[in-house]
């Protein structure tokens, strides 16, 4: 296998070649940033849920998931990503089956009649979070093993991306479907798809988006949510209310915020879905520009470190893996914070590592474990 990460550093590498101890090469900055964001998230979940009757239980569960996530992150990072990639077909296949399964009677009905969950007693599992990872892994493994991305390989990669996207559209979970587009785009760009092909893809994508919005494939509420940010008067009272309340909460926080537990919108429950999709409003209201800005900086550091890991990766598979994870995180962060700030449409996209929800936290941690793995095993 000819590496693409190649590079000066590896050739002129002066670091030790002691591969037996991967910990030496762990990205401490990324690790610390991840830990801080997780901690920040727990505080936010605490603030957003403490007014609920079962608030303490929600926080405890979230804490448990964080612990599980951190364990998974360390576990995954210890394994050479190439060993994991060897299994990509199986992992991808199982993930798709599980994702398809939620559409069956096994899946649980969620809000607006969408199906995106499995419920095992008290534990709720959202397979799309795992499917995103599996897809990143599959595309990275498939494209990372070749020099050139010809049309046939491009087509296969598009199929790998298209299957989970179609399945999430059927739920329907528009936000997650968009994740596959963005992740795919990022990986195809870096993966060496020709500019010509890429341009055609982008044009097709744009046409498709407009087509979807014009067609009857989306329910009115979905269109409303998507277009609310551009057309504030044309949306339903509920969507408008959600957007208004989120911006009101964030803005009233000002420079330093009301302080933990003191934000009126948070305290009195004015922002719907505040512990999940609108958790950024807690940071905005209670910690102000300083606190929510700090959260964004931590995220920015994480993105930077993942991007750096992509650059330093030993091979193109590692690079693509990191880019996939980076695209996923970047889209999640931008879309989620953007909708909280009123500059992006409202879709059900959680804020990575912060929003309450076990599947998302664990999946995000595993994704970061993969990045760490790429970073730690770059000399192997």
């Amino acid at each position: 296998m000819q590496s693409i990460g190649v590079d000066r550093r590896r050739i002129s590498g002066f670091r030790g070649r002691d591969v037996s101890s991967g910990w030496k090469h762990v990205d401490i900055v990324l690790l610390v940033a991840t830990g801080l964001v997780l901690l920040f998230g727990l505080v936010m979940v605490y603030s957003a849920t403490r007014r609920f009757p079962g608030g303490a239980g929600i926080l405890l569960r979230q804490g448990l998931f964080v612990v599980v996530g951190i364990a998974a992150m360390f576990g995954v990072s210890l394994i050479d990503y190439r060993r994991i990639a060897d299994w990509w077909q199986i992992i991808y296949g199982v993930a798709m089956l599980v994702l398809a399964g939620v559409l069956s009677p096994l899946g649980s009905l969620g809000a607006f009649g969408t199906k995106g969950w499995y419920a095992f007693g008290p534990v709720v599992f959202q397979p799309v979070e795992i499917a995103k990872l599996a897809t990143v892994l599959a595309v990275a493994s498939y494209l990372g093993s070749v020099d050139r991305v010809d049309l046939r390989r491009l087509g296969t990669a598009l199929v790998l991306l298209g299957v989970p996207m179609a399945l999430t559209m059927l739920q329907p979970d528009l936000g997650s479907a968009l994740v596959f587009i963005v992740v795919g785009l990022g990986m195809l760009v870096v993966g060496g798809v020709r500019v010509r092909h890429l341009s055609i893809l982008v044009i097709l994508g744009v046409v498709a988006v407009f087509g979807i919005l014009q067609s009857s494939a989306l329910d009115q509420y979905q269109k409303d949510r998507l277009t609310a940010f551009a057309n504030p008067d044309g949306v339903s009272a509920k969507a408008r209310y959600n957007i208004d309340q989120a911006q009101t909460a964030i803005s009233s926080g000002g420079l330093t915020g009301y302080g933990l537990g003191k934000g009126p919108s948070t305290r009195l429950g004015y922002v719907p879905a505040q512990q999940t999709d609108f958790i950024f409003t807690v940071a905005g209201e209670e910690f102000g520009f300083v606190g929510s800005g700090l959260l964004l900086i931590l995220f920015a550091i994480m993105i930077w470190r993942i991007w750096r890991a992509a650059q330093l990766a030993a091979d193109s598979m590692g690079t693509l893996l990191c880019i996939g994870v980076m695209s996923m995180f970047l889209f999640h962060i931008f879309e989620n914070v953007g909708m909280n700030l009123g500059i992006m449409p409202v879709t059900g996209i959680p804020l990575p590592l912060v929003s309450q929800g076990g599947s998302a936290v664990v999946a995000s941690c595993i994704a970061l474990g993969l990045v760490q793995s790429v970073h730690m095993h770059r000399y192997a």
Binding site: I4, V6, D7, D147, R148, G186, V189, V190, G191, G192, S236, A237, K238, Y241, D244, Q245, Q247, T248, A249, I250, S251, S252, G253, G254, L255, P264, S265, L268, G269, Y270, G284, G288, F289, S292, G293, L296, F299, A300, I303, W304, W307, A310, Q311, S316, T319, I323, M326, S327, L330, I333, F334, V337, G338, L341, G342, I343
Partner: protein
């Protein structure tokens, strides 16, 4: 794969990432750094409700401190529209449908359409609670409170409403309370939030905490403008003009003219609510201050007595016919009793009456139409001051005064022969003969006997002379004398809707004709007009209140007081303690009598008129002597009957009198009784007056019964009804 290309592409992705983060930071800074204040206001309006609380109005007491109008607590179901606005249309409709169903099952007749209308009513400020059902049972409150989660945005509040312990008694005088309308609100400088936006983010809730002192009260009610010293006024100070839509305001009677005293200083409660609209915290609390108590000049026992006898009399009259076979419809009637020494109104009865308790939660459309249906007799009208009638022979008092004041009569001993017919001097045409009632000849009469027997001819001649000698006596000696008694102008009683009546003069007839030549046959004034005016016919109109006030003026020797309704305003210390104990209140202000004018007349001339009027009841020839004999008062009374002709209808029966008379003691009571379409003054109005006055004069008046205990009153009413039938055949011609 090309390394350089990968590098370039990675860099491109990095640039995209940096730009996206920059975008987020810029937006975050815009919201939190630049645009913060706008959103902060929205945050406050989200969660803070300023609730305007009216508080209980002051009570209305009679002159002895008996409570005529009280305040009690009512439970009101209202909408808090903030949480409802957040719902989708179907969800909200479901809440409304469920609420309407529930209320109806609980016996509250609230229609879905009303709830929807109130929800969309832009006249209420967005943050204000909008009432949808008043005065519900406590069980409704409990039911709704227990299921608060099923009825988001539904608030149950308590508010003070009016109660009327004496039922219909004095209903016209007391007036009623209703929701302020837009006109009244604007007049008081209130806030009309009609243009308010319904958006959740653009509304403001906080209002200045400062309160404005009141301006002098209700100047719109006409009568009160000149009576600030006596009537409603700003003397109490510190009252708020802070009215809101949905507030209560006095709509008539004392409730309206003493609004500034009765109204509680509104309170304000600032509360914090959560997203569901549930109360979380009270941020500030300013309790309303109970309104002041108003003490009326009315004696409720006398009022009850007068109303009962008036009603019995009218009910008895109806359906009978007079000697010309005109139906006695007696559509209405009024009795007013005044203290001649200070102008205080002791009783003011108007028939038909109404039950003021139907107004407590707002008058329904059906009820309002019924009240204003002419067939109902217009029960809301206070005929005592809104009804105008030709005063008939009661007017002769003024003509008599004119005779002396003009100098035409020297001492009243001048006699004329009254053959029952008078031929107008220098008359050309057909109607040159005018007659006494029934053409009865009275023989030789002077001023006193002319009044006693009600000789029209005596006054015809006087009026004819006046008109023939206008260069000597002016055009309007009769009208001038009547005006001195207060005719043709509002008395200034502090009650709304008072009618000034009408005092025709050559000048105002001419003006009226020139303004609308199509409406009048002529603009000229002739001898016949003077003659008609002299006996209270023609175009003369007076209210029963003007009538009693003019006789009270004569009775006290010529001092004309403004009729007084309120004696004092007090501030109670504890509403649960007896209202009439001076230990339980502090005096805010005492209302002093207001003298509006005095009539100068020589004592011997005064005595002539006095004797004539005393003779009406005491002389065997007096027009009211038989009826006085039938129900004697403790002391003699003096007065004048009136039988006014109204075309195509039965006569209006009038009587105005005072007592004690002729005993040397000061007059204590003046009374006027007016019943249209009922017959002779001496046969209907006078007997009724004496029967009302008799127990008063003997001090045997029965106490009025509160509605809660009607048994005694029912028995008394029955007795009154039985006695009323005897009058119609008694008495002599007028």
């Amino acid at each position: 794969m090309d390394t350089d290309s990968t590098h370039v592409r990675l860099s491109a992705i990095g640039i995209v990432a940096v730009s996206l983060f920059l975008a987020l930071f810029m937006r975050l800074w815009f919201l939190q750094g630049i645009d913060r204040q706008a959103f902060e206001a929205a945050s406050v309006s989200n969660r803070v409700r300023v609730i305007h609380e009216e508080g209980p109005r002051g009570r209305i007491l009679d002159r002895n401190g008996k409570i005529l109008v009280d305040s009690e607590t009512s439970i009101v179901v209202s909408l808090d529209r903030e949480p409802l606005r957040k719902m989708e249309q179907p969800e909200r409709n479901a809440v409304f449908v469920s609420l309407a169903d529930t209320l109806q099952q609980l016996g509250v007749p609230t229609k879905l359409s009303l709830i929807e209308k109130r929800y969309a009513d832009l006249r209420y400020a967005p943050q204000e609670y909008v009432p949808i059902a008043d005065d519900v049972d406590p069980s409704v409150e409990i039911y709704l409170m227990e299921r608060a989660d099923r009825y988001p945005g539904i608030i149950v509040e308590r508010k003070a409403i009016r109660s009327y312990p004496y039922g219909n008694l004095a209903a016209h005088l007391l007036g009623y309370v209703g929701e302020i309308n837009e006109k009244e609100l604007v007049e008081r400088g209130g806030q009309l939030p009609g243009s308010g936006s319904a958006s959740t983010t653009s509304t403001t809730t906080t209002r200045p905490a400062t309160t404005q002192p009141t301006s002098p009260a209700d100047s719109s009610s006409g009568a009160t403008t000149t009576t600030l010293a006596n009537g409603a006024g700003g003397a109490s100070g510190g009252r708020l003009t802070d009215y809101r839509l949905g507030d209560s305001i006095g709509k008539g009677g004392v409730e309206r003219s003493y609004e500034a005293d009765l109204r509680a200083v509104p309170g304000e409660r600032t509360i914090e609510v959560n997203a569901k609209g549930d109360l979380v915290d009270v941020l500030s609390l300013e309790s309303p201050v109970v309104g002041d108590d108003i003490w009326l000049t009315i004696d409720i026992d006398l009022q009850a007595h007068a109303e009962r006898l008036l009603a019995a009399k009218i009910q008895d009259l109806r359906g009978r016919r007079d000697k010309e076979n005109n139906r006695l419809n007696a559509p209405q009637g009024s009795v007013v009793i005044e203290d001649p020494q200070n102008g205080q109104i002791l009783a003011m009865a108007s028939y038909p009456d109404y039950d003021p308790s139907v107004t407590v939660n707002g008058i329904s459309q059906e009820q309002w139409e019924a009240f204003n249906d002419p067939n109902s007799g217009l029960p809301l009208v206070n005929w005592a001051l809104q009804g105008t009638y030709a005063p008939g022979s009661t007017f002769k008092l003024y003509t008599a005064l004119a005779g002396y004041k003009s100098g035409y009569l020297r001492n009243g001993t001048e006699v004329i022969n009254d053959p029952g017919v008078y031929t107008i001097e220098n008359c050309q045409g057909e109607k040159c003969e005018v007659r006494n009632a029934g053409s009865t000849p009275h023989g030789t009469v002077n001023m006193a006997t002319a009044l006693t027997v009600s000789s029209d001819v005596y006054f015809y001649k006087l009026a004819d002379k006046f008109w023939n000698l206008t260069d000597q006596y002016g055009e309007t000696p009769i009208q001038d004398a009547a005006a001195q008694f207060g005719l043709g102008a509002k008395t200034g009683v502090p009650l709304s809707g008072e009618n000034p009546g009408r005092l025709p003069t050559p000048a105002n007839r001419k003006a009226a004709f020139e303004a609308r030549p199509d409406l009048f046959m002529t603009g000229d004034w002739r001898s016949g007009d003077n003659i008609n005016t002299s006996i209270g016919q023609g175009d003369v109109l007076a209210t029963p209140l003007q009538l009693v006030n003019s006789y009270a003026t004569f009775a006290n020797g010529g001092t004309r007081y403004q009729p007084q309704i309120v004696t004092k305003v007090t501030r109670p210390s504890d509403l649960t303690l007896p209202a009439n104990d001076p230990a339980n209140y502090t005096l805010i202000r005492q209302v002093e009598p207001v003298v509006q004018g005095t009539i100068q007349i020589q004592p011997d001339q005064y005595a002539k008129i006095y004797d004539g009027l005393l003779g009406v009841t005491q002389s065997a020839f007096g027009t009211a002597s038989a009826s006085w004999q039938a129900s004697k008062t403790a002391w003699p009374m003096a007065g004048k009957t009136g039988t006014a002709q109204v075309s195509k209808k039965a006569d209006t029966s009038l009587f105005a009198a005072w007592g004690p008379a002729g005993t040397g003691e000061p007059a204590r009571y003046a009374i006027s009784v007016v019943i249209p379409e009922s017959g002779f003054g001496g046969e209907v109005a006078a007997p009724l007056a004496f029967r009302i006055m008799a127990p008063l004069s003997f001090g045997t008046l029965l106490p009025a019964c509160p509605s809660a205990d009607q048994s005694e009153c029912a028995a008394a009413a029955e007795a009154a009804s039985a006695a009323s039938g005897n009058d119609v055949t008694s008495g002599s011609a007028d």
